[in-house]
Every structure is written in C-alpha cells, then in structure tokens.
C-alpha cells in the first residue's frame, strides 16, 4: 500500500487518499479481505489529520470498497458485493464511452467499432482470476 500526498494537487487531501486507495483496491495491489491500517495509524504514517483520514475511509465505506468493523478495523471487501460491482460497471462504461466518443469524432461506423471490440476481446489475454 502506498499513499503520496501532493500539496500541488487541486484535490483535497482526503480525496487524494481515497482515490489512491481505490485505485490500489481496484487493480488488486491491495487484496480483498486485507485489513487497512487504522484511521489513526494512517494519519500518523502519512502525517495528516485524523479527520482527513476518517473522511477518506468513510467515503470508501460508502462506496462499498471497505467495511469497518468494531475491533477488526477496516477490511477490503470482496469484489462480489453489489456496491463494488456498480463501481466496476461504472468504470467499464466510462472506458467504453470514451471509445465510442472517439469513434464518433473520427466518423467510424458502429459496425467497425464492434469488430474492434470483438477482436480486442480475443487478443487481450484473460487474466486468471
């Protein structure tokens, strides 16, 4: 797990922490079921205020990435849970939308676009999950 706080960033610090944790959960760097450091621990390590890390965690919780349980700390939830699924679907839609928009800009027929999509499905290797 790694968190880098930038003072130059336009994002508030809690959002920087949140986004970086989210990214690492989504790409599997922080595995499901693992326990995140406590709010106070993280604040100490990163050198930010407790309120800031509290906010980052509660946002992650609201979005279904983690669950905070009394005595067990904050645990990264499995990707099967509905909230998280939504997050994934959202990301997929975002990616595809960009692709479609780009295609429209260059005037690519929809049929060719779906062909590209199908070809890519075959060529991009399936990661064993």
């Amino acid at each position: 797990m790694k968190i880098i706080i930038s003072n130059q960033s336009e994002l508030p610090i809690y959002a920087q922490i949140k986004e970086q944790l989210k990214e690492q959960i989504l790409n599997g760097q922080i595995p499901e079921g693992s326990t995140l450091p406590s709010i106070r621990q993280l604040a100490k390590e990163v050198g930010v205020s407790v309120i800031t890390t509290t906010r980052a965690y509660s946002d992650l919780e609201a979005e279904g990435f983690i669950a905070t349980m009394q005595g067990r700390g904050s645990v990264v939830l499995s990707k099967d849970n509905n909230l998280l699924k939504e997050q994934y679907l959202l990301r997929i839609e975002e990616g595809l939308t960009t692709a479609i928009e780009t295609a429209r800009v260059m005037g690519l027929p929809d049929q060719e676009l779906t062909e590209i999509f199908h070809n890519l499905l075959k060529t991009v290797e399936q990661k064993p999950s």
């Binding site: 336009e10 508030p12 106070r40 604040a43 100490k44 930010v48 407790v50 309120i51």
Partner: protein, 284 residues
Amino acid sequence: MELLEVRNLSKYYKTFRLENISFMLPKGYIMGYVGQNGAGKSTTLNLITNICKSSSGEIYVDGRSCNDDESSYKETIGYIGDEFYFPDNFKVRHIRSVLNNFYKSFSTEKFDELVTRWKLDRKLEVKDFSQGMKVKLMFASVLARETKLLVLDEATNGLDPVIRAEVLKILQEYIADGERSVIFSTHILSDLEQIADYIFFIHEGKMVLYDAKDELMENHLLVKGERRAIFPELQKALIGITDNAYGFEAILPGDRADLLTNDFHFEKPTIDQIVIHYIKDREA
C-alpha cells in the same frame, strides 16, 4: 467526548482584552490555535494551564475544572512554552527529582529513557542548552507522565526542520490512542497545519474562524483576477481583497462560488491564505 471545553472565556488587561472565547476539542484530536503576535494566543493557553486567572468564563479539561481540584487538574495537562521554563541553573537530575516529587504519574524510567534517546546533556545547567535541546527537555518532562492534554505555545518556533518533523511525529503518536488531545498555538502554519484537525483563528482577542480544518479549506476559494472585473455583489462577498501590480487576490466563501464568472481564476487556498485575507478584512 470533549477533552477540552472552553466557555465564554474572557480576560481583561489594561491594554488588551480577550473576549468571549468558546470552543471544544474532542478526545483524540489536534487543534491549531492560530493568530498574529499579540492576538491572544498565549493568554488563552495560560488561562487553560491556569498560570493566569480568567476574568470570566469556564475551562474544563477531561470534565474537570481547575476550581474543583487544582492539583489533579494540573496533573492532566502537559505544557510546553515558547519560553523555556525550567530555572536556569537546574541540571537534568534536579528537574527529574523535582518533577518526581510533584507529579503522581511521573516515571523516572521513562524520563531517563527520553533523556538518553535525545542525548540531553546531564552535566550542563539547562540555561546552556541549545534551543532544540530545551524543547526536547520540556517534551521529556511532559511525556514522562500521564497527561490528557498537551498545550503547546509556539513550541516549534526557532527549531530546525528536522526537530520540527520529530515534534509532529511526537504529537501524532500522543493522540494515536484516541484518548488524548493536543492544542498548539502558532503564528506560522506551514508544517503544523497538516496534522491539525481543528483550526481556531483568533484576532485581537476575538474569534474569527473556528472549524474542522478540512471544512475551512473546502468552504473557501482563493480568487484571483482583474480588479475592474469585480462587480458590487462579488465585492461584498469577497474577503480581504489584496491588490498587486497585476490584479487582486481574495478569499470567497464556498457558498458564494456561483458569483464567479469566467473572468476570475480560483483555486484551493491554504490555511495561511485564508488567515491572511481574513486579517486583511478585519483591518480594512
């Protein structure tokens, strides 16, 4: 649960009045008490430690008032001042012995350990200590006993960046169990700003801003642009308009962001910038 509660605190001097200060600091959090020199920061903190007596108002630390039981009230507080407060000709062992006499919870082992860890000279009289050593000795004397509230009055002024960073770690460790709190005063924010949960901003003895730091930063925008582009409604909403050769800079409360047109540039302010513009506004 509040660890420090200050209610309608006032202190009247011939030339200065601290007026009606109220705030709360929950357990496990850090408050930055911010203001210019002479704004009333030290006065407030001296009232909390009870080395000055208030003209009116109440102070509770961990639910206790100094009037209930002065000794146990003072036991719960650790104070580190901008001025080194141990008598000049004391040596480390004298301080150790006196503190051990007075404080029930003072641990000589813990004290010795800190003195050794920070390489504090046991042979020198403390007046010959460097500024960094003096601050560390004050920290050792406070951390060697069980306190609930740390009160720091400009304690990191005049320290080099390495020691300042160490102090930040000490403070964060102090509140890590969620039971203890820190209030520190400062006129320069920079490094301490990042660990503060709450900011109380005082100017000329009166409260100007008091909120969670993250809220303060999110609820304000730093606006820049050309002076002549400001229209009356915006003029009213802007706080502390400062002119420079190429334009103006001011703070705008976040809920008035709708007033901003494309003529203006805005960005996330630092606490320093918010404070500077509020002072400018008060003085205008």
